[in-house]
């Protein structure tokens, strides 16, 4: 009757969330389709001028991916709150921060990863040069986990409310402005043939910091939001 070991618990947590996501695999496709359609709207709204589209391709893809992730973020804890399993998790004899880190990882795997996979396609639709693609993917690989981590803190904070996704957007976007700036900076630099390693390095450093701090902050936020 001892609580199970850390690895077991983490694995169980991760498996649980991935299974749940798989059960609703239609929902995994949604952010991807959403990003596709939003990207498609831009040529219509701006006119099909190749050089213009090419110029804005990197930025638009970044913003689109961000918005798509934002929409999916809201669901990170909501069903767990509704059915009370989050309370069970808080009371489980495991470090909450670690369990939450697993949840965030599962969320990233199911929402961000598919988006990163189709990002080159989206960028291609807007005529981003192929040479810039690797930098775009790299920037996304570093910035999307940060969005997941920052988002998790804020979603946890709103856990006790009748939430609206909009409030989440309001809270998250100021925090992710720097992330967008650096990621877009790297893409733009690479597109202009300038060195793009510095912004990528900054992103990496911030990610490492967040990987350590965000789960702890998330756990603290959750305890605040759940305990009346």
């Amino acid at each position: 009757m001892n609580p199970p070991g850390l690895t077991t618990a983490c694995a169980a947590m991760l498996r649980r969330d991935l299974t749940l996501a798989w059960r609703r695999r239609g929902d995994i496709a949604m952010p991807v389709l959403y990003a596709l359609i939003v990207t498609m709207l831009f040529p219509f709204a701006l006119g099909p001028e190749d050089t213009l589209l090419q110029r804005i391709a990197g930025g638009v893809v970044l913003v689109t991916v961000l918005l798509a992730m934002l929409l999916a973020l809201d669901a990170m804890f909501s069903s767990d709150i509704e059915d009370g399993s989050l309370e069970q998790l808080v009371l489980a004899p495991q470090p909450l921060a670690l369990m939450l880190a697993m949840k965030i990882l599962a969320h990233w795997l199911t929402t961000a990863l598919p988006l990163i996979v189709i990002a080159p396609l989206l960028a291609g639709m807007l005529h981003l040069p192929t040479a810039v693609m690797p930098v775009l993917v790299l920037a996304l690989l570093l910035s999307t986990p940060m969005l997941s981590l920052l988002g998790a803190i804020l979603v946890a904070l709103t856990a006790g409310t009748r939430r609206s996704g909009m409030l989440l957007a309001l809270m998250l976007l100021p925090l992710c402005v720097p992330v967008v700036i650096f990621a877009a900076g790297a893409v733009a630099a690479s597109q202009q043939g300038l060195p793009w390693l510095t912004p990528i390095a900054w992103l990496g450093a911030a990610l490492v910091l967040l990987l350590v701090l965000a789960p702890l902050a998330c756990a603290a936020a959750l305890r605040i939001a759940l305990d009346a």
Partner: protein, 216 residues
């Protein structure tokens, strides 16, 4: 049906409330409520509409925080919820079912959270509760009484010592009501305890239940 609670009945009450009171917007919903509930006992919460039955239930379930007074669980103060969690089963006005899922899927979730009694399967519980044939229908498509029955199937499946049932008879037909009474009797016979809020008369065989009166 198998016995869920394993501890033998003893003298310390399972749940004891001393001078419990609760305020809503600084108005008392109830005040100075005292009661003790031992294993194998049933308590009926009675009172008019709006007298605070549901409120009391939610407090005991740990969903609301009590203002004044103390709660004891097996003789020890109930400050941290984890002392009794997993031993209490709450069934409220909201049934807590996902309308998109089928009865068996809904129950499987509950099992995952609370663990399972031995020798009870989801299918047999649904059959016993009178829903065989509806295992894989989505809950959205069930009638009001059938939804209620799905929620009641939890009583059969999950291990818990104390049942908190808020109007368990509402929406049920006569066989359903008899079923709830049978479930209650079995539970008490096995050393469990239950608090039931209801407006209907609970026709209960086996000892006069304790009555907790709420005054609006």
């Amino acid at each position: 049906m198998t016995a869920a609670p394993t501890a033998a009945p003893n003298n310390t009450p399972l749940l004891e409330a001393r001078a419990l009171s609760f305020h809503r917007q600084e108005e008392p919903v109830f005040a100075a409520l005292d009661f003790r509930l031992c294993e194998g006992e049933l308590a009926l919460i009675e009172g008019d509409n709006g007298s605070g039955k549901t409120t009391l239930m939610r407090i005991l379930a740990g969903l609301l925080h009590v203002d004044e007074g103390e709660l004891y669980w097996r003789g020890e103060p109930l400050l941290q919820r984890d002392r009794c969690i997993g031993e209490i089963l709450f069934l409220g006005h909201q049934l807590g079912l996902k309308a998109d899922l089928s009865p068996s899927e809904n129950l499987r979730i509950s099992l995952g959270l609370h663990g399972c009694r031995e020798q009870v399967s989801i299918a047999s519980a649904l059959a016993e509760i009178g829903l065989s044939g509806y295992e894989d229908e989505s809950v959205r498509r069930l009638s009001a009484g059938q939804k209620k029955r799905v929620a009641l199937a939890r009583l059969l499946l999950l291990p818990a010592t104390l049942w908190l049932l808020d109007e368990p008879y509402a929406n049920l037909d006569r066989t359903g009501i008899a079923l709830v009474n049978r479930l209650l009797e079995n539970h008490l016979a096995c050393g469990g305890a239950a608090l039931v809020a209801s407006h209907g008369t609970v026709s209960f065989h086996g000892g006069e239940p304790q009555r907790i009166r709420m005054h609006a």
